[in-house]
């Protein structure tokens, strides 16, 4: 059963990132592609995201998650891309041997010329938070609750407190309300929500669900099932203020406190990660520090919108195609630097010999009203774009036009900063 197979490209993960990357690589002429998905269907997390709002940017339509995924599944079906479902990758080696297992084929070792990592991300659990008390049933991540309601068809709670106002938390506040649960409140540690404004209005305000900013859950009660939680306001250092502790009765605590790229395989392969994004360090083609291994989608950086995952993955798919054709030899890299207000930039490095338009994606560290996003090269302003508002919850981008690269040397310094 120890199957040995050779592929030009192995894509790890059959969600929106993996599908878009594989399709783009195929379109660019890569012939022998394997796409590996651990679930029994392609689509990834989109299968349980039944709300609408996907595809507004990419398709100009308001699709649900499964509908968005279906468009790509249909395209994959029309190609000769070899899809392995119910298959989990256990190792990616520096020699680009992808080891995976499934029930049918057993343990397989796929030798690839190039690999694209598209494993997505996972939710941050309770353990990472400073919530004390008991450990009863009824504490779950919003994503787990979403699966129970939308795929399994069961109510995971009746009286719900949600901690974290990320988009999944907001979406689940509405979803639980529609199914008859009482969502008591959404607590957010920060003084602002990490979710999209549209979701705050349509998921909370529409249903009179209070959003408590600068508030966190400090304690869980209940020996068997959750019976309640203590919430408290936090000070500027985000520390709970004891005098503000308040008890809230509930049977469910849902957590929507952040997403973490799922980089176990990346780390296992010895590929360096960015400390801030927790995804791989990549160049403008989304190639990691290990030549021929690419990364895209939420495993590279957590995105707000699937549309951007798709676009990023197409870059990786094209990059992998070029690598396989042997076009990516001898690059000369510069590393764009984060200036005031900017937490990180993807890609972390740019091949200045490629001389193509490069879009830098970044996030800011705080909310800024009426700022300018400034792109500088060696002290010279390349662009300065006025914005109404930038916020940590919304990914921003800035373009370096191809023409700039003619005058760049490996010593050149490119900086992105916020000007207020």
């Amino acid at each position: 059963m120890n199957e040995r197979m050779t592929y030009d490209l192995v894509v790890v993960g059959g969600g929106p990132a993996g599908m878009a990357a594989a399709l783009k690589a195929r379109e660019c002429g890569v012939e022998n592609i394997a796409l590996i998905e651990r679930a029994s269907e392609l689509g990834g997390i989109l299968e349980q995201c039944i709300h609408t709002g996907f595809g507004l940017t990419y398709f100009g339509q308001e699709l649900s998650g499964p509908e968005y995924a279906d468009r790509f599944i249909k395209l994959v079906d029309k190609t000769d891309i070899r899809v392995f479902t119910d298959t989990m990758v256990t190792d990616v080696s520096p020699e680009k041997v992808v080891t995976c297992v499934n029930k049918k084929d057993g343990l397989m070792k796929l030798q690839a010329k190039a690999v694209i990592l598209a494993m997505g991300c996972r939710e941050r659990p309770r353990g990472a938070l400073n919530i004390v008390g008991t450990r009863p049933a009824g504490v779950m991540t919003a994503g787990t609750a979403q699966k129970y309601v939308n795929l399994d068809g069961y109510m995971p709670g009746k009286k719900v407190v949600i901690l974290g106002s990320g988009d999944i938390g907001l979406i689940m506040a509405r979803r639980m309300t529609l199914e008859g649960a009482e969502v008591k409140m959404v607590c957010e540690l920060m003084p602002f929500s990490g979710g999209l404004t549209r979701n705050i209005v349509q998921c909370l305000n529409d249903f009179d669900i209070p959003l408590k900013l600068s508030t966190t859950v400090v304690k869980v009660y209940g020996d068997q099932r959750v019976t309640g939680v203590d919430i408290a306001r936090v000070d500027e250092k985000l520390q709970p203020i004891p005098e503000t502790i308040e008890h809230v009765e509930c049977d469910t605590l849902m957590l929507s406190v952040g997403l973490i790229p799922e980089n176990e395989l990346t780390v296992g392969a010895g590929i360096p990660l960015d400390r801030v994004t927790r995804g791989a360090v990549v160049d403008e083609l989304r190639q990691t520090e290990m030549p021929g291994v690419f990364a895209c989608g939420n495993v590279l950086q957590v995105h707000d919108l699937v549309d951007f995952v798709t676009m990023e993955s197409q870059i990786a798919g094209e990059g992998a195609a070029r690598y396989i054709r042997g076009e990516l030899s001898d690059p000369e890299y510069i590393r764009p630097e984060t200036g005031f207000g900017v937490r990180y930039i993807v890609p972390q490095k740019i091949n200045i010999k490629d001389k193509k338009d490069v879009k830098l994606y970044f996030r800011v560290g705080a909310i800024y009203n009426n700022p300018r996003v400034v792109l500088e090269c060696d002290g010279q302003v390349l662009s300065s774009k006025k914005k109404i508002k930038v916020a940590p919850g919304e990914m921003e981008d800035v373009l370096i036009p191809a023409s700039v690269f003619d005058s760049l040397t490996p010593e050149s310094r490119i900086t992105v900063r916020v000007e207020v």
């Binding site: 299968e47 039944i50 709300h51 609408t52 308001e62 699709l63 649900s64 499964p66 509908e67 279906d70 309601v149 939308n150 795929l151 399994d152 068809g153 529609l178 199914e179 999209l196 404004t197 549209r198 705050i200 209005v201 349509q202 305000n205 529409d206 009203n369 109404i388 508002k389 916020a391 919304e394």
Partner: protein, 117 residues
């Protein structure tokens, strides 16, 4: 009467105050751009929303299939539409785009499946 709205036209999320005299708008304040005014007018005169939920499937792989309204419906009818959605079931196989409830409650929107089962 005054109504407070948060504009969703862009990430800025302006707080808009709409002053009403009965059903008619007297003034709209707080919006930074014309899109905010348009948003506020729609929200006051005819607020509409998409609804997404699930419908019970008989004999499918999964117990429920996701559905949505084919177009937005009046906001005040969300729970009425939910009741209709909860009332029906559908026999497998279900195909994406399949109409489960045509013209739900006369809104002009169909309830359609958004996945296969």
């Amino acid at each position: 009467m005054e109504k407070q709205l948060t504009c969703v036209a862009c990430p800025r999320g302006c707080s808009i105050t709409v002053t009403l005299d009965g059903d008619s708008i007297v003034s709209i304040e707080g919006n930074a751009c014309p899109r905010g005014k348009k948003y506020a007018e729609n929200e006051i005169t005819d607020p509409r929303r998409m609804v997404a939920s699930t419908v019970k499937v008989n004999g499918g792989k999964l117990p429920v299939v996701p559905v949505k309204t084919s177009s937005d419906i009046p906001k005040n009818m969300i729970f009425d539409v939910m009741r209709e959605i909860n009332r029906v079931s559908v026999d497998a196989p279900v195909e994406i785009g399949q109409v489960i409830i045509p013209d739900v409650l006369g809104t002009g929107a169909d309830i359609i499946a958004t996945n296969n089962d």
